[in-house]
């Protein structure tokens, strides 16, 4: 897989199903009705209470109707209470529906697979046909070109190119081979050429694809720790308001008649946090969905939440922070040689060099000196690189151009390196670069500095992470000096040089001991212990089975820099919950102003002064509050699915902004909303 992919261009899985997609909404509406079953709703205490109250008011309205009394008001309340419940289940259904289409295409990939079960490990000719679901752990199967790999497994023999589009959405085939870090294959992917012998490593029903299907469908969804805590808070508030409303029966009896049950029901439902109660699970599902569309699979919602809490990010140098291959980054001319002359010689010496290093020299010379590489001149002879000479170059009629390791060049030319150049070469090596000497006809012209290039923009990303309160740590096998140089250039906070798997594990344990949460990305088998130890372990899809098992997230694009986005998605999930909770609670202020005067104005007409919204009548006031309370759930569904925008500005600034928008906004919005609904009701003559 392409680890050089520029950041931010990782392929996104599928499209975000639009909120306005008709078939999706139709199906969600049906699901919403199905979710009304109290047995299912009881998981959500706030909405469950709303449903119980709705049933009660419906019965009372029916009773009034049967007695031939006026029941329009009660019926109106009952309808809107039911709609409140329905909007809440609808929000969840919409969130779930977005993952479903994707799950179906995955299921198709799984369903068709047939397996060629090998009878003996050493005989590829002898196999029996089996259904993919009949395979047991440890079975050996043969997969040939055109076959779908029947289940997850480890390649024990062979090399093949595999199209993993079914899992990653990326159609360019990748090479899979036995041994090493690319030996894992995923059920549902297709062998495009050659053949593989695979040992099955997943039990039926628990393959990567199965888990992925369950995940995108939300079937395996369990409440996350944070969600549970929030649920408790909401349940607690519901009980408090139940007490407050129930006590009104006694309190209001003191000087007049207690309000009717529908009115009390309306007060209760508007006060309890139905907005967040109705949207809570949709927020969670949407958060997972965002991750899936970002081509990252989390094994649990817990892992996504943990991502938001991460304090330390462990990133591999190669492929994550740097491009991972050496490129030209400077010319150091020998004394008495102009840099341009050196550049031109370097270009000629590299004309026949098709390696990335050679190309990078041409590119650098063009960028820096405008030296355009000429077409290979007539009569030129390319001197290829050999392990013996450790030199390559070009023979032209007017001279022999060579480039290569410094000592090889000086040896082959039989000249000494000038001391000033030797010093520069020494410096390049010390900083982790690779010096290449350039010579022409027995004269050393200078050196080219090759080095591992830090990806553009990564420094800014790290600065951004720092503002988020996250420390970045670069992990590399390089020596300390090299590591320090690259760390400084990339702007990481810390680095781990000459890192062994044990050191990585030790570093993670130490950070955790200090109360920090650690995230890391990895792909090799030797990364597995550290991936398992990290609070968030992002394994690469291209990695080994061991790594994929150890991590709690898998990146299908195998782009380790995505760890940064994963953290942002985790934060966004938590922020959305917090923001809508705050909004929901803040709404109560306006609802009091709408309903309390309406309820008590019969006993104390003077309490009408608290009807600051000047709502038309007690009935319309109560009904408007209930309607607002129901509609706000639908109105906020897009926000719940999209998530509140996160920007890395530091906790204090973020809190201030969100408090203003969702706290103060939550106080103000219902005043406007309820008033508008009241005007509308008055206009159409309902109340």
């Amino acid at each position: 897989m392409d680890t050089m992919m520029p950041m931010g261009q990782a392929t996104r899985r599928g499209r975000a199903a639009a909120f306005t997609d008709r078939t999706l909404l139709g199906r969600a509406a049906l699901d919403a009705l199905r979710k009304l079953s109290p047995a299912k709703l009881v998981r959500n205490p706030v909405i469950f209470v709303t449903e119980v109250v709705a049933i009660l008011v419906t019965l009372l309205a029916g009773l009034d109707a049967a007695r031939g009394q006026g029941f329009a008001f009660q019926a109106g309340i009952a309808i809107w209470l039911w709609l409140t419940v329905l909007f809440a289940t609808f929000a969840e259904a919409v969130a779930e529906g977005r993952g479903r289409a994707q799950a179906e295409s995955l299921r198709r990939a799984r369903g068709e697979a047939r397996a060629k079960l090998l009878v003996r490990a050493d005989d590829r000719a002898l196999w029996q046909p089996r259904g993919a679901t009949e395979l047991k752990l440890g079975d050996l199967v043969l997969v040939e070109a055109g076959d779908i790999i029947p289940s997850d497994g480890e390649i024990i023999e062979g090399i093949a190119s595999v199209n993993e589009a079914a899992v990653t959405g990326e159609s360019a085939p990748v090479i899979r081979e036995s041994g090493g870090d690319r030996s894992a294959v995923t059920g549902g992917t297709m062998v495009v050429s050659d053949w593989l012998v695979v040992r099955i490593t997943a039990a039926p029903g628990s393959t990567f694809l199965d888990r992925m299907i369950a995940l995108v469908e939300g079937a395996a969804r369990q409440k996350t720790p944070n969600e549970i805590a929030l649920d408790i808070l909401l349940a607690g508030m519901t009980i408090i308001f139940l007490i407050a409303v129930a006590s009104l029966v006694g309190l209001a009896s003191w000087n007049g008649r207690p309000p009717s049950v529908p009115v009390l029901a309306a007060l209760l439902v508007t006060l309890i946090p139905t907005t967040i109660g109705g949207l809570l699970s949709a927020i969670g599902i949407a958060g997972m969905d965002r991750l899936v569309r970002f081509n990252v699979l989390a094994t649990s919602g817990r892992a996504v939440e943990a991502a938001g809490d991460v304090d330390v990010l462990l990133l591999d140098k190669t492929g994550t922070i740097t491009f991972g291959n050496r490129q030209a980054a400077g010319f150091v001319p020998a004394p008495g040689v102009a840099e341009r002359e050196l550049a031109e010689a370097a270009v000629l010496a590299s004309l026949g060099d098709e390696t990335p290093e050679g190309r990078s020299i041409l590119a650098y010379a063009r960028e820096r000196h405008g030296t355009v590489a000429p077409a290979l001149p007539e009569g030129a002879k390319v001197v290829p690189f050999t392990a013996q000479t450790r030199l390559s170059g070009l023979d032209l009629p007017d001279g022999q151009y060579r480039k290569g390791a410094v000592d090889s060049l000086s040896g082959s030319l039989g000249v000494a390196i000038p001391p000033a150049l030797a010093e520069a070469v020494e410096r390049i090596a010390r900083q982790g670069g690779t010096p290449l000497a350039v010579g022409r006809d027995g004269v050393v012209l200078g050196a080219i500095e090759l080095k591992d290039i830090v990806k553009p923009g990564i420094r800014e990303r790290f600065a951004e992470l720092r503002r988020m309160g996250i420390r970045t740590v670069m992990v590399t096998g390089d020596n300390r000096l090299t590591a320090a140089a690259i760390a400084a250039e990339a702007g990481v906070d810390d680095f781990l040089a000459e890192a062994t798997p044990e050191q990585k594990l030790g570093y993670i344990r130490k950070a955790q001991g200090e109360g920090r949460l650690v995230a890391m990305a990895g792909d090799g088998t030797n990364d597995a212990p550290a991936l398992a130890q990290a609070d968030v372990g992002l394994a690469m899809q291209t990695g080994t089975q061991a790594a994929r098992e150890a991590g709690n997230m898998v990146d299908l694009d195998s782009d380790p820099t995505k760890l940064i986005e994963v953290v942002e998605i985790g934060k966004q999930l938590l922020i959305t919950r917090g923001a809508l909770t705050t909004f929901s609670i803040a709404n109560d202020v306006a609802k009091y102003f709408a309903i309390l005067p309406a309820i008590f104005v019969a006993s104390y007409p003077e309490l009408g002064v608290f009807n600051v919204m000047r709502l038309a009548s007690p009935e319309s006031a109560i009904l408007s509050a209930v309607i607002f309370n129901a509609l706000i759930i639908v109105a906020l569904v897009p926000l719940a699915l999209r998530g509140v925008t996160y920007s890395p500005v530091g906790a204090a600034a973020l809190l201030r902004r969100n408090l203003v928008i969702y706290g103060v906004g939550g106080i103000v919005a219902p005043f406007l909303g309820i008033k508008l609904i009241d005007l509308f009701l008055t206009l159409i003559g309902v109340a």
Binding site: I232, G236, W254, D309, E514, T581, A651, L654, L655, L659
Partner: protein
């Protein structure tokens, strides 16, 4: 409202804050065992009681010790009140209390409520006052402080069970804080003219030649601890409005100072124990803001006078002076009122029932907000910390991390326990009030009709459940129904709150302390102060709005419309 009035208020509060700063650090030192000048006395106490002060207690051990101490205190006090007729120091030859009244009174003083269903000078012997009530005044206050210290330690420690030792905290807080301060304030009160005597009541002949009995007693020192321990139970029935209990404006000011100084200082003790004084300062500022707001509301409402009187052409320069002592004036009454109800003290220097409806709403609402502003000694701090945890939980999510307070993650267990604690007040206050307002046996206790009657009943249960102890007045408190239900409300308010809080402490102490970063929720700045104040109002106050609308608010708007009840 006058400038002089506000200057008085500012001066008293400045003295409180000025004293709270060193006192807060001093109490942290006492809690840590770094203050030892009374070590010999401590040793005698420990030896006599058979206590090992170094034995570490987890939250269960600590809580059980607290409950055991309080149960013993309750039984002892109950027996004493019932049997005071045969006990010494009873020069007036008073009878023992009825079982109902003795239950109510014993609960009341054990829970630091000091609701007085009895008339102090006319029902209790000197012995009951000194050996019973005054002893409990110290113990209930020290109990609250000990619990608060345990909670503070829970934030400061990580990965442990040990929250300290209840017995040692109880003894040390009494010896090093309450007793010295009480002596200081008590002598000041004596110097200001309060009686401190064991002589029988004085008899006097009035100018008209009538014979008058003037109650006396060992008042000054009991009154000192009554305020310092935010107990509030007056020596005399009229409490701090009595000429012997609140002789001058200066004594009233000193009483306000005494009520506030320890609760405010404990906020800073919290900061000192967790190693970041700014955290304590933030809590203190929230408390101070509410005291000022409450004072402003009472002051404004009362100084404005009664519109019905104004309409009759009565000079309102003094404002509404009904039920107030001229020697204190509106400003000190307002500050005293906000203080005594915000601080869960319950002493009064004026009659709340005679306040304007909105003026009467303030003390009621301050109690209902959870007695955390600044709250009772100890109980105010741990109540405030419960709100802080909830504030951090709700708003903390908005910074995109699992909420944490002082590096402790706020998770399901803490939220559950915090909600259990927060549930206590609405359940006890609204539940009992709603029942009492329809139950004939209870309704008989209220002479008033209309919203005012509702306010009286609502206030009684608020005061009991909030462990405040002040009375709105007007209510007949000593009936079996009222004695028992108010007693239960007091127990719920104290122990049904404290036990979950201690469970939170146990849970927090066991957690690791997460490192802070710029991504962490800042809990020391103005933003958090505002947020916490808002959360107290919304989570602690909103549920009482319907009840308040039917009580003081209905009375207020009716009054404006010229209607009285």
């Amino acid at each position: 409202m006058t400038l002089i009035g506000w200057a008085q208020i500012a001066l008293v509060l400045a003295c409180v804050v000025a004293a709270a700063v060193p006192l807060g650090r001093y109490m942290a030192a006492v809690a840590a065992g770094r203050v030892t000048f009374l070590a010999p006395v401590e040793r005698v106490v420990y030896a006599a009681a058979g206590i090992d002060p170094r034995q570490a207690q987890g939250w269960r051990g600590y809580t059980l010790a607290m409950l055991a101490a309080n149960a013993a205190g309750f039984l002892l006090l109950y027996a004493l009140l019932r049997g005071q007729a045969v006990l010494p120091l009873n020069p007036q030859g008073l009878d023992g209390l009825t079982p109902w009244l003795a239950f109510n009174t014993a609960v009341s003083f054990v829970t630091n409520t000091n609701w007085q269903a009895y008339g102090g000078e006319s029902a209790l012997s000197y012995f009951s006052q000194m050996a019973g009530l005054t002893v409990q005044n110290f113990l209930s206050a020290a109990t609250g402080m000990a619990l608060a210290l345990a909670v503070c330690r829970a934030f400061a420690r990580s990965g442990v069970k040990d929250l300290g030792n209840f017995w040692s905290d109880l003894v040390r807080m009494t010896l090093y804080v309450l007793v010295p301060l009480s002596l200081l304030v008590g002598f000041a009160f004596v110097a200001m003219g309060m009686p401190q005597t064991l002589a029988p009541f004085a008899e006097a002949t009035t100018l008209e030649g009538a014979r008058q009995v003037i109650p006396l007693g060992p008042a000054a020192f009991q009154i000192a601890i009554k305020h310092l321990g935010t107990n509030g139970g007056g020596f005399f029935g009229m409490n701090s409005a009595h000429p012997f209990e609140g002789p001058t404006a200066l004594t009233s000011a000193l009483q306000i100072w005494s009520q506030q100084v320890i609760p405010f200082a404990l906020a800073l003790t919290f900061g000192a124990i967790v190693g970041d004084i700014r955290q304590g300062r933030a809590l203190l500022l929230v408390m101070l803001a509410y005291v000022l707001a409450g004072t402003w509301a009472v002051y404004g409402s009362e100084a404005g006078g009664n519109p019905l009187h104004l309409a009759l052409g009565i000079d309102a320069a003094q404002g509404n002076m009904e039920g107030k002592e001229v020697r204190f004036g509106q400003a000190l009454v307002a500050l005293f009122t906000a203080t005594t109800t915000g601080a869960s003290c319950g002493a009064v220097n004026a009659m709340f029932e005679s306040f304007m409806p909105l003026g009467g709403l303030v003390p009621l609402f301050l109690i209902q907000l959870g007695e955390v502003l600044p709250g009772g000694v100890g109980s105010g701090l741990y109540g405030m910390l419960v709100f802080a945890l909830l504030a951090v939980f709700v708003a903390g999510l908005m910074v995109g991390r699992t909420p944490e307070y002082l590096g402790k993650k706020v998770q399901a267990r803490e939220v559950k326990l915090a909600m259990l604690a927060v549930l206590v007040l609405p359940a006890a206050i609204l539940g009992f009030t709603a029942v009492a307002l329809v139950l004939p046996a209870a309704v008989a206790s209220i002479p008033a009709t209309g919203p005012h009657g509702l306010s009286e009943m609502l206030y009684a249960y608020s005061s009991a459940a909030g462990n405040n102890g002040s009375a709105f007045g007007g209510i007949t408190a000593d009936t079996p129904w009222m004695d028992v239900t108010l007693g239960i409300a007091m127990m719920l308010g104290r122990f049904a709150y404290a036990v979950p809080v201690m469970a939170i402490a146990g849970s927090l102490a066991a957690k690791p302390r997460v490192a802070e970063s710029v991504g962490s929720f800042p809990t020391h700045g103005p933003l958090f102060v505002g947020l916490l104040a808002g959360v107290i109002l919304i989570l602690g106050g909103l549920q009482f709005m319907p009840a308040l609308a039917l009580g003081p608010l209905a009375e207020h708007v009716s009054l404006l419309a010229g209607k009285t009840f």
